[in-house]
């Protein structure tokens, strides 16, 4: 950190989160245990907003896939326990919700990830549905720790998604943003 945070910095954080209409944000080590703990409040937040239950479930679904991606693939780990570090947030956006996730990407996996997501972004809903089924039948790709379905699942639930790789001191950050309506 280096510098001392003033109370105005705290207010700035408050104002920043309020202005961008962020309902929930977590940044730090993420584990399945922690995900269990935060699942309930996240659900409550979503149902508080007079959102249709089906939409709330869709937002929650993207949130879970993103959180589990961080847990499985973040290249930035805590020294003591090896837990994955990342940031995940849900905000209100025009006519819906924005779900954001950031984590350090394994440099050796970056190209494959990029190619996978470019490929998914070019597919329509029908193709994504077919691909999901295909992947389910074929089983996970070799270096996947989940079923290799997470990104397809998210692409099916969002209205659109964007991704980027941004250089940082910790290494290349993988940024994923999905909009749900």
């Amino acid at each position: 950190m280096g510098k001392t945070l003033k109370s105005t910095d705290t207010v700035e954080l408050h104002t920043f989160m309020q202005d961008r209409k962020t309902l929930f944000c977590y940044s730090g080590p993420l584990t399945e245990d922690l995900l269990t703990t935060i699942s309930n409040p996240v659900r409550h937040q979503l149902s508080d907003k007079e959102t249709e239950e089906i939409v709330a479930t869709r937002v929650f679904g993207v949130f879970i896939e993103q959180a589990q991606n961080i847990i499985r693939y973040s290249h930035h780990k805590t020294k003591a326990t090896g837990d994955s570090i990342g940031t995940i947030a849900i905000s209100l956006a025009d006519d819906g919700f924005l779900i954001e996730a950031v984590n350090v990407v394994d440099p050796s996996k970056k190209d494959v990830l990029e190619a996978t997501l470019v490929d998914l972004s070019l597919k329509d809903q029908k193709e994504l549905r077919g691909l999901y089924k295909q992947r389910l039948r074929d089983g996970p790709p070799e270096d996947s720790r989940g079923a290799g379905l997470g990104f397809i699942e998210m692409a099916r639930r969002v209205k659109k998604f964007e991704f980027d790789f941004v250089e940082s001191e910790e290494g290349a950050l993988f940024v994923y943003r999905g909009w749900v309506q």
């Binding site: 269990t36 879970i64 089924k133």
Partner: protein
Amino acid sequence: MNFEAGQRTPLVQLTPTSCLIRGECYPENISEWSEPVLTALEECLGNDESEFKVDIELYYFNSSSAKFLFDFFEFLEESAEGGKTITVNWRYRAEDDTMQEAGEDFEEDMSACTYNMVVAEEAE
């Protein structure tokens, strides 16, 4: 045999002639949760009863759990091919396109089982 619903796992009720799965499914560790369920299902299907009825009503499952459902249905299908009469009811809420599509996709691979898409009553 019953597997109580958890915060991230559905209720599973198994009898010699039936299986009910209801709730949400996104366990911390899918294999840890699903292995005992599939083992119990195997025991139920291994008896001499001629008929077996399956009711599934899920509101949400994550991508890791999709593989469990795939294996679960494959298991039922094999048992039906072996001579057991199996009926599967995939229950979903009328407005829930996600669960409707999921049910339809699993249905595509089922031929020995009787598979019904059923619109569930609105839960209170």
